[in-house]
């Protein structure tokens, strides 16, 4: 039974439950107490030890049921009739125990034979979708199907169609279908996530401004990855809100506390300092070359609302508009589409956009604000308005410029990057999700001093 439990734990890990070795020791101890004989009991006991939240418990229930669901092999009407009537025997099948079982339509034995064959070939080790046909083939070979195939072929050669041959062929087909189904199910249990994870790992490192774009499926996967990255960062940084300042006595509170003991200060209270959460102002270029990256940056930032105190975002191409209200109403990907329809077809003009920002929104910057600019700084030879950018840098805590272009292109042609760069605290190439995560992590670190 230990093997089964280990397989179950592996299946649960594939389904996304973080099960540590200590958890699995607990699971074994729990099974020692309850035993496996009552499946319902074992299920609840394992659920208590392995699932750590309501959501995980729901996943556990699904995986557990799928794992222990056993499908009997349907040998069909013909076989069960054959068993009753026992009309004719197949001389070719005389020497073969397996063929005899198949002819008798003994579903339980066939199911068991398949299960043990699956065990012998290590079916639960399946990783990739491409392995499915091969493994289904090997599973049938292991069960001894080639022998049965030979019997059917010989019988057909002798006389083309006897009821017994037809019956054997039917059962043979049922087993083939069942083997394929079993392999598919095992793939679902053990490997479907592995494939997804592999794809995700590739996507995270893929340039966001690739010409061919991303398929809808990949986009969904990437959004999921972004949310997960953001969640991890939020978890890491949401912890500390206050910290004690060593060596500074909070006299007021100490005196107040000491009143209980005749004014003798038994308990000293130290002053604490609030750790402020960063507020972020985000300026996104949404011209064609940068739009994809802008979408993921905004998704990322909006998933961080736990740790970011205040987030304001602006989109610009020829002019600059505020997109907060839009993002509050629509999911990020739709909102971006809306923004693109509004201003996306204008020629990029960094100078004009900065003017727009200075006119209406400069007051939203203060010493707590981190400004993140995402853009390629290609301004079509229009004025750069460095003076406004300098003012922005002066008013805010930090300015970070993320440029999708590699650094060697900066300053070439109409790129003003080299000139803007002087006012930035950080200017960096950012063209994959992995880089994006790295940079946001950095923002949180410099904004949350330890």
């Amino acid at each position: 039974m230990q093997r089964a439990l280990e397989d179950l734990i592996r299946a649960l890990r594939v389904a996304g439950l973080p099960i540590s070795p200590a958890d699995s020791i607990d699971a074994h101890r729990a099974i020692d107490v309850t035993g496996f004989s009552d499946r319902g009991l074992a299920k609840h006991a394992l659920c208590a030890t392995l699932a750590k939240s309501g959501g995980e418990a729901a996943v556990f229930d699904i995986v557990f049921d799928a794992f222990f669901e056993s499908q009997a092999i349907k040998t069909g009407e013909a076989a069960s009739q054959g068993r009753q009537q026992n009309l004719d025997v197949l001389p070719e099948a005389e020497g073969s125990a397996l063929a005899q079982i198949m002819l008798s339509g003994d579903e339980a034995s066939l199911s068991m034979a398949m299960a043990s064959a699956a065990n012998r070939i290590g079916l639960s080790g399946i990783r990739f979708a491409t392995q499915r046909n091969l493994l289904a083939r090997r599973l049938q070979d292991e069960m001894g199907m080639p022998e049965v195939d030979a019997i059917i072929a010989k019988a057909r050669a002798r006389s083309p169609q006897t009821p017994a041959t037809a019956r054997l062929a039917d059962v043979r087909a049922a087993i083939a279908a069942q083997a394929q189904a079993l392999v598919d199910r095992q793939f679902q249990i053990y490997a479907s996530r592995t494939a997804e994870e592999l794809r995700e790992a590739q996507l995270v490192r893929q340039p966001l401004n690739a010409d061919e774009g991303f398929s809808p499926g990949d986009q969904a996967l990437m959004r999921k990855a972004v949310r997960r990255m953001a969640k991890q960062l939020a978890d890491r940084h949401s912890r500390q809100r206050k910290r004690a300042m060593r060596g500074k006595l909070d006299i007021r509170r100490t005196v107040r506390r000491s009143l209980a003991h005749e004014g003798i200060p038994f308990e000293l209270i130290w002053r604490t300092e609030k750790v402020d959460r960063p507020s972020i102002v985000c300026l996104c270029d949404v011209s064609r070359s940068v739009a994809a990256a802008a979408q993921f940056l905004l998704t990322f930032l909006y998933s961080l609302n736990e740790v970011v105190h205040d987030l304001r975002s602006f989109a610009f191409a020829g002019r600059l508009i505020e997109v907060d209200s839009l993002l509050a109403q629509l999911p990020v990907e739709e909102a971006i589409g809306q923004v693109l329809r509004e201003i996306g077809f204008q020629q990029t003009d960094y100078g004009k956009s900065l003017e727009d920002f200075a006119d209406k929104h400069l007051t939203c910057l203060d010493r707590h604000t981190t400004v993140i600019v995402l853009g390629d700084a290609r301004s079509n030879y229009a004025g750069a308005r460095l003076d406004i950018f300098a003012e922005i840098a002066k008013r805010s805590r930090a300015v970070i410029w993320l440029n999708p272009e590699p650094e060697t292109y900066w300053g070439s042609g109409d790129s003003e990057m080299r000139r803007y760069e002087r006012f930035c605290h950080i200017a960096q190439t950012c063209n994959t999700l992995a880089e994006l995560e790295h940079i946001i992590e950095h923002v949180l670190r410099i904004c949350l001093p330890r």
């Binding site: 107490v33 006991a45 939240s53 995980e56 418990a57 912890r239």
Partner: protein, 327 residues
Amino acid sequence: MSKQNGTTLPASSPRPLVDHPAFASVEAVRAGLEDVGYIASIRISTALYVAAHLERPLLVEGAAGVGKTELALSAAKLLGLPLIRMQCYEGLDESRALYEWKYGKQLLYTQILKDTIGHELGGAPDLDSALVRLRGLGDQFFSDDFLEPRPLLRALREEKGAVLLIDEVDKSDEAFEAFLLEILGSYQVSIPELGVVSAKTPPLVFLTSNNQRDLGDALKRRCLHLHVPLPDSALEREIVASRIPGIDEKLNRALVDFVQALRQKELRKNPSISETIDWARALLLLNADELGAEVVRDTLNVLLKFERDIEAVLPEIDELVANARAH
């Protein structure tokens, strides 16, 4: 692996939980809880049974009012052990949760010492021997006599074990959560002045959480997890009948159906079991022997706690009541 040493206690230490007849099997746990008035689903009783046998704390999550705290109270009643309850809140610290020195008493003794010190040290021939004598007195100030045990220390010190309820652990700070790890992992705490205090008998620990914030992985890792969902109608009827023995079978069925139908609506706060029970009591108090639209309208504020929810439901009362009575 030092973290695990504590959980596998030597066989010689007393294990009253495991040996208790009420914990002989899952069915015994369920029946025992029913005797003390807690109708538990099989998942709840299994989790409790496993927690007792593995000597692990049980982290109970679920919406407000599904009976998380009640489970701990009932377990204490079932085992005949004292229940030690600690309510968590933001800013809860060691001195409130674990122990505190009795400053007032220490102060008083210092005063007495001041008055008698001349007499005490009178016989000392020189400074050295006076200091030795003084040291003997001084150490007593940080001894058991001056220790005020708070819930956690009390639970560890109970000779025959106890049921420790750490209520709404999600409301405490992360720092406190980290502080709990030692107690939950190995049933011991370190007090700087006294050393390590280990549990004489490991208490049965319940933690409850309303999911106000995500608990740390380290804490979750040390606990078994139990999610208590809202009950289905059969279970809820049983619970109401057990809590309010006099209730009419037909009224019970109708009111539970009504509440179940309410939960299908998109409300800000779904009525939970405690609200169902309160409502049933209210109906009984008003001598309502059947569910009528009028009496439901008058008592809806027992069931729904937000004005907006009540307004949303009011226009549909007639229909909901008719449906509930039709079943």
